[in-house]
């Protein structure tokens, strides 16, 4: 098994170490239940941001419809979970939520991904609104009142597991030949085409993978917060996710992770300033974007910094 190389084992150890550390802090009560919600938000935002980064940062397709895919996962997960109140029902909800979001992603992607830049953004925005309005008017989703009393199965362990899985799988994807094909579309679509890359196929592929993980995030969300309604998944939510991605750096997975953590921490810390909260938050974003328009990490990863150092030592 070539998967068991030094680098991967090292990554696995880090993943387990982070889990153990937070789990320890939770059991000893160092992290209160108030901050537990922050941790859940961070995990869900990481899944959303990393998956949107695949579409917008790596493939270069500006999408404003990520909340739409999240809502598909949230509703699918919630409905299945409410009829099957068990862990297997919870997991089935996540799986079906992801698959449903991916299928809708393909259906939306094929017509809209012909568009570029601003036009694509507007089209995806419109599609997300359509999804929201559909949920608003369906009987099974209970319209504007939303779904209530969704059993809670999401806990730190599941959140962490799916967050880690998202990061690992999307990282694997962008470092594969298929992922490089997606990146080449961002760099120069005409050149990519003339290098034999079926640009439509890879754009739709990235879009579908991104949608699937947004669906996972949605299902986790609905099962953690007991309650969902269509207004939660509006335009504002898509923008929130986009802010994390741009803030962390378009094309940087670790950037998205760091940005999701930082923004959640800032929001939590600002909670005591209630009235000034949004102003300070917005101001911080403006200041950071002024000084680092490429985002915190640009297209680099945190691991690149270590690589750079190692190369220096050799020389």
């Amino acid at each position: 098994m070539k998967v068991l190389n030094k680098k991967n084992i090292f990554t696995l150890i880090i993943i387990i170490a982070i889990y153990a550390l937070v789990q320890l802090l939770l059991t000893t009560g160092t992290i209160s239940s108030f901050y537990e919600i922050t941790i859940a938000t961070i995990c869900i935002n990481i899944i959303l941001a990393v998956s949107l980064n695949l579409v917008t940062g790596f493939t270069g397709q500006f999408s404003l419809g990520h909340a739409g895919f999240m809502s598909i996962g949230a509703y699918a997960g919630a409905l299945i979970n409410m009829s099957m109140k068990s862990t297997s029902g919870f997991l089935a909800g996540i799986l079906i939520g992801a698959i449903a979001a991916a299928i809708i992603g393909v259906l939306i992607g094929i017509p809209t991904l012909r568009l570029k830049g601003d036009y694509l953004a507007i089209a995806t925005l419109g599609m997300a609104e359509i999804i929201r309005v559909v949920f608003l008017n369906m009987e099974i989703t209970n319209g504007a009142a939303g779904l209530n009393g969704i059993p809670r199965f999401t806990n730190w362990t599941w959140l962490y597991l799916f967050t880690a899985l998202t990061i690992v799988l999307i990282n694997n994807f962008v470092r594969s030949s298929q992922g490089r094909a997606c990146i080449s579309i961002r760099e120069d679509e005409i050149a990519a085409e003339s290098m034999g890359i079926n640009t439509t196929k890879y754009k739709v592929m990235a879009f579908a993978i991104g949608a699937a993980f947004a669906g996972v995030a949605g299902a986790l969300y609905s099962s953690y917060f007991y309650f969902i309604n269509p207004t939660m998944f509006g335009f504002q939510k898509s923008i929130d996710i986009l802010v994390i991605v741009v803030f962390g750096g378009l094309g940087s997975i670790t950037g998205s992770v760091i940005a999701a953590v930082l923004l959640a921490v800032i929001t939590t810390m600002l909670q005591s300033f209630s009235s000034l909260r949004m102003i300070i938050y917005a101001l911080l974003l403006v200041i950071i974007m002024l000084f680092r328009p490429q985002g915190l990490l640009g297209t680099k990863e945190v691991t690149d910094l270590f690589k750079f150092r190692r190369n220096e030592k050799v020389e």
Partner: protein, 258 residues
């Protein structure tokens, strides 16, 4: 044996006929030049061959394993798949990616693992990625670019960027290489180097080459046959010496006698 046969190829943009009834045939192993004054339709002709534009009428036949296959109207990625690779007049490298990645992207159609292998890193993924890296490095080695493999494409000097574009086209394993003004903007030294590279491609890779060029010395030196395009029509074809003395060609370039 004819590798590429173009018959009565026409492309109109509204009222303007950019290429009209153009014929061309290229035999296997030939090095053919396509020249013509500015705006004659050379790049349009290239774009028709490579699927960027769909022809208004006419046919483009490529010999694929002994079978004449119509490729007019193919999408660019499928044209590349059947063995036509091109470079661009204004360099279109993947600027923010490394030299190695530029090559690996061009090799994408040769990989032999699918999405699940990529996501879950199967043994096949590791084997294929290693093969890909090795092949890419070998190719860069042949063209003296291997010492720059980790450098970003945009940081290469101009001549090397043009060079890399040719190598990238080679990485798709073409049977026919189309070069759109490879010497544009090069200094005389770089042009000499380019001439050597093109000769190397021909001899070592047994490739057929079609190039558009403005640099007449380059065309006359290396091309075995030359086609001349003017106002969208082929006005002459033949050996470089014949073309040099052709009355219509001189007229096209220098204008008619008053």
């Amino acid at each position: 044996m004819s590798l590429l046969t173009v018959e009565k190829l026409t492309k109109s943009f509204g009222g303007l006929t950019a290429v009209s009834n153009a014929n061309m045939h290229i035999d296997k192993g030939e090095l053919v030049g396509l020249i013509g004054p500015n705006g004659a339709g050379k790049t349009t002709f290239f774009n028709l061959l490579t699927g960027v534009y769909e022809p208004t009428s006419g046919s483009i036949k490529l010999d694929i394993d002994g079978e004449q296959t119509e490729i007019a109207g193919f999408k660019p990625n499928n044209v590349t798949k059947v063995g036509l690779a091109r470079t661009f007049q204004n360099i279109r490298l993947f600027k923010d990616l490394s030299v190695l990645d530029n090559i690996r992207i061009a090799m994408h159609q040769n990989i032999d693992y699918r999405l699940p292998s990529a996501l879950f890193r199967s043994n096949k993924y590791y084997e294929e990625e290693e093969r890909l890296r090795k092949e890419a490095e070998e190719l860069l080695d042949i063209f003296d670019l291997s010492h720059k493999k980790d450098e970003m494409a945009k940081n290469l000097p101009y001549g090397e960027q043009r060079h890399l574009e040719i190598v990238r086209a080679m990485a798709t394993k073409p049977v026919l290489l189309l070069l759109d003004e490879p010497a544009a903007g090069m200094n005389p030294n770089e042009t000499v180097h380019l001439t050597k590279t093109i000769a190397k491609i021909r001899d070592e890779f047994d490739l057929t080459v079609l190039l558009i060029e403005h640099d007449m010395s380059l065309v006359m030196k290396i091309c075995e046959r030359v086609y001349v395009l003017d106002y969208g029509t082929m006005i002459a074809s033949g050996k470089p010496e014949e073309i040099k003395n052709n009355k219509r060609v001189i007229e096209a370039y220098l204008g008619e006698d008053v």
